[in-house]
Symmetry: C2
Subunit: 309 residues, 2 copies
């Protein structure tokens, strides 16, 4: 199969690994999770997973697990939620009922390692019909801080909806298309909650937080405030409403693996008005709870619907 | 100043920020460190820093601090080494005497955020003559696992010694040259220690651990074992002896900031013989201590020399 032409979009709900070599491996070590097929019973541990939430910070993913346990009525007052990846400090992973919560660090390479291993984990565990949502933070463009953006398309720094990767030294371009129906459902959930502003918009995914996002406050900056504002205005005109650092490879890898995927990020500031995060710790913390409240509402709704049917 | 033409290489030992906007800021919040110029006395906290060691894992950087405290005779039996960035889980930072130790997560974007804030921190703290060493892990090519590689040149996936970044949607190419003298000094230290094999070689820096490094065991793989071996052989012919995910931006940013910089990574496996990390936890742990032993020896030597002179 030539590079760049990968199969995707199977309809049976199973997780799809695009790798013929995996079948001939007697053991698969998921090194950065400190898990493996010969050391762990992955179907038993993870076979019932239907929702995976991922986010940059290990603390936030632990707090999401505690929150979702409460929301789903699965709280055992004596229960601690152990970090399933306790043997490593690369990622943190928690599980409560059908919901898995995994941290991914910052940036495309960091989330890409996690997703390779997560996709193999779900595949080895024989999970089906899995929905994955990235809950994160971002800089907004032309939005009131605290607004939640559900990503329509993840675009690169030229506002194109694809990701260029390098494989064996050659460029491979992958689509960053996300599940439209899921994005609409999440928007609807936000409106039902009515606790914060929520919109659908394009999300720009960059390789750098400072120069890559036209910030004026990094260690290096060779452009003017006007150059910055022009670039952000171009992005806005291309439908970009927020900027973060993981959505493109997240969208591309989930699409290749037959995972329904969405990106929900809160905006911590309006980049047209500044670069530094000057809001108080308390305000920023409150903002960061919004994506998890949204996804909590969505999961509850989905589980109720499936119970009724 | 046009993009891509940045000043560098000042001779007075001071840290150089290439950003005229910083001078007009009344406060600088180093968000991902949870530090700032108006909340912390950075010159008092960090003014004496002469060596900075950075590595992916927070645990490893804490363990490096404990190790270096012992080596430098700075151990206070009652002392804990508090995480200076305790208010955030993005990075961990420890300090003992003139040695600062900071984690950077995995991949170019993650280390790039850390370096922007580290360079500003050293600048605000008015540090001079600072040496920065990345101590990490890597995959080797044609080397016995456990061999330590001191990077001669950090090259990209086409084996070119530069890093292409995107700023305001336009490509900017930066040199990834490292300090040759420092690399030779570190090689010499390794030979003096005589505890493990050590070489100087080129290091390939990739954006992905699986497909980006020609692994056959990721969630996706559309090439054959032969394609992989050919690519690794090409890399070897270009002088590449190990592969990791942070050296290029580390080299580029340190060069722009007038920081003497080196990359010292241990190889955990020989990629021509496999992809998975099958060595025992104990063996891998032992390997990971080698770069820190090397840098410990180097720092001790430097401090003794400066005491004698």
């Amino acid at each position: 199969m030539p590079l760049g032409e990968e199969k995707n979009g199977k309809c049976d709900g199973s997780i799809y690994v695009n790798n013929p070599h995996l079948d001939s491996m007697t053991d698969d070590i998921l090194y950065h999770f400190n898990l493996g097929t010969s050391t762990h019973d992955l179907p038993k541990m993870f076979g019932d997973v239907k929702f995976v939430c991922v986010g940059g910070s290990p603390w936030r993913m632990k707090s999401f697990t505690e929150y979702i346990a409460k929301e789903l009525g699965l709280v055992d007052p004596n229960a601690e939620y152990p970090n399933i990846c306790a043997g490593t400090d690369r990622y943190a992973m928690y599980k409560v009922g059908p919901v898995l919560s995994v941290s991914h660090g910052m940036g495309i390479p960091s989330i890409s390692i996690m997703l390779h291993e997560l996709i193999k984990l779900l595949y080895h565990a024989r999970c089906t019909d899995v929905t994955v949502v990235r809950i994160g933070t971002s800089g907004g463009i032309g939005l009131k801080p605290g607004t939640v953006v559900v990503t329509k398309q993840s675009v690169d720094s030229l506002f194109q909806p694809h990701l260029e990767q390098t494989i064996l030294g050659k460029p491979v371009v992958r689509s960053t298309e996300l599940d439209k129906e899921l994005a609409e459902e999440l928007l609807q959930c936000g409106k039902e909650l009515g606790e914060f502003e929520i919109i659908i918009g394009n999300t720009m995914c960059t390789l750098d937080f400072y120069e890559g996002q036209a910030r004026l406050d990094g260690a290096f900056c060779s452009y003017s405030e006007e150059d910055k504002q022009n670039y952000l205005a171009e992005a806005y005109a291309a439908g970009v409403r927020n900027i973060e650092m993981e959505s493109s490879v997240f969208a591309a890898m989930c699409k290749l693996s037959n995972l329904r995927a969405a990106v929900v990020c809160v905006t911590l500031l309006d980049r047209q008005k500044g670069d530094q995060l000057t809001s108080s710790h308390e305000v920023l913390n409150n903002y960061q709870q919004r994506p998890q409240a949204l996804v909590g509402h969505y999961i509850k709704k989905k589980l109720n619907i499936s119970k009724k049917s």
